[in-house]
Symmetry: C2
Subunit: 272 residues, 2 copies
């Protein structure tokens, strides 16, 4: 279980202390945290809790949303929070089209410019910004970065130590170019974060909370795992699933199901 990381959004309603205790009890060493939940429990308290339990924070979700007025201040705060938590990566969900705009290419350029503004702060804090391409169904309202190729293009002008990319199977599984782009990400040392969730249908209204646990859907998760490994990625593998029904289950049940899905559908043959 060295590489397995439990992203807390998978058990959204699990209180932070129970999440930490549950992970320790299950032999899980890594967690991915979210800003809202961290703030609700208190940043310093969360840091102490997680460190005291011997857990590593593999990523903080999320910065980005570069169309909001306070985007620079808020993202600098997010970088600082990641640094405090010891999270090496801040996941960026870049935001959709500005209100009333139809200029998608322009919106994508603006994301790149905004990331550039944050690079000095990220380098100083020792936190890597990880551009996450989201599924094209989120293009207008959540994230204009829709493919791994676009994320890598946006990252390219900046040092790899400051800007990487996220490979999330849920968002990228449909893309026949993703394998070449994973290779490219490895060559360019941009692989900052690897998240797994499965694709299931029908999608719910709003399409945000319709992900499946590993193995529940149609994504060839092991092909992704092999591809990022072959590209030189040796970092954590986060299970991150949002689903309203899953969230109604007890946190420990969700964690156990995430571990089982990871073992059966993500981990390599030589053990997880």
């Amino acid at each position: 279980m060295n590489r397995f990381s439990f992203n807390q959004a998978t058990a959204k309603h699990w209180p932070m202390p129970d999440l930490v205790a549950g992970c320790v009890a299950a032999g899980v060493r890594n967690v991915g945290l979210w800003r809202e939940e961290t703030a609700a429990h208190g940043l310093a308290r969360t840091t102490d809790l997680v460190r005291g339990a011997g857990l590593t924070v593999t990523s903080l979700c999320r910065g980005g949303f570069f169309t909001t007025p306070d985007r620079y201040d808020d993202n600098r705060r997010a970088i600082d929070e990641a640094a405090t938590l010891g999270a090496p990566v801040l996941v960026l969900v870049s935001g959709g089209l500005p209100d009333g705009s139809r200029d998608l290419a322009g919106a994508r350029r603006q994301v790149g410019d905004a990331i550039g503004e944050l690079v000095p702060h990220a380098l100083a804090a020792g936190v890597r910004l990880a551009i996450e391409p989201l599924h094209p169904m989120f293009c207008s309202d959540r994230c204009v970065v829709s493919t791994l190729g676009q994320a890598l293009d946006l990252a390219a002008p900046y040092p790899a130590a400051a800007v990487g990319v996220v490979v999330d199977t849920y968002h990228l599984w449909w893309d026949d170019q993703v394998w070449d782009q994973i290779d490219r990400a490895g060559r360019d040392d941009r692989l900052a974060c690897f998240q797994v969730a499965d694709w299931i249908t029908p999608l719910p209204a709003g399409v945000l909370l319709g992900r499946g646990l590993p193995g529940a859907g149609c994504v060839d998760l092991r092909r992704f795992r092999s591809a990022v490994d072959a590209a030189g990625y040796t970092g954590p593998i986060e299970v991150e699933v949002f689903h309203e029904q899953l969230w109604t289950r007890p946190g420990r049940d969700i964690l156990d199901a995430a571990i089982a899905g990871y073992r059966d559908h993500v981990a390599d043959g030589s053990g997880p």
Copy 2:
């Protein structure tokens, strides 16, 4: 209004005779028809009705669904129906992943093979098969062909007279490679059908019936229109919008709204 075509799915509940009379009254010369509606009214009756009114059928929706057991017989029937109606194009929605499969690349190859089986019948009937890439959110359950580039790759082995592609703004607007692929489609003489709908959010459950009338959303429709024109396309431009609320309006209202959206957001400056 020479190029405007009203796809009947935009006013799904408008009875065929009313649709035809409404189009004539509005000065519309072209319609896109669906197999189910055509069968319900009767193929011969529909053919007579449409011809008698002086309307042109610009496309028939739809063939495809190549994972079904009777795919060859059913698609040959669809080709024959298109020929009877005088529709030059049969739109193909290729189908999702086979049940239980995670082999997306294999599913895409099978679509290409299935289309090849239909080519002789299509050529003999004088009906062009038009591969429609659907938005990646439909990849698992409706259509494994997700980009215009993939559609063109699948069409490439076959004569352009037999196999073309559909450019539908709703499905392709997020793709930064679509402009190059439209150019390629023009060079290869593959542009068989051009359909417009706008992207609006939030998406409804199931995501099928959430399209917007031209101008209601964030797609740069005129850029698409200019791109297909620049690629040499001179054919009809179908407005095809599926939306449950839109369908509750009287057919003539929907047609008028489609015409207005087309004039304001699709037609070129020199008149529609």
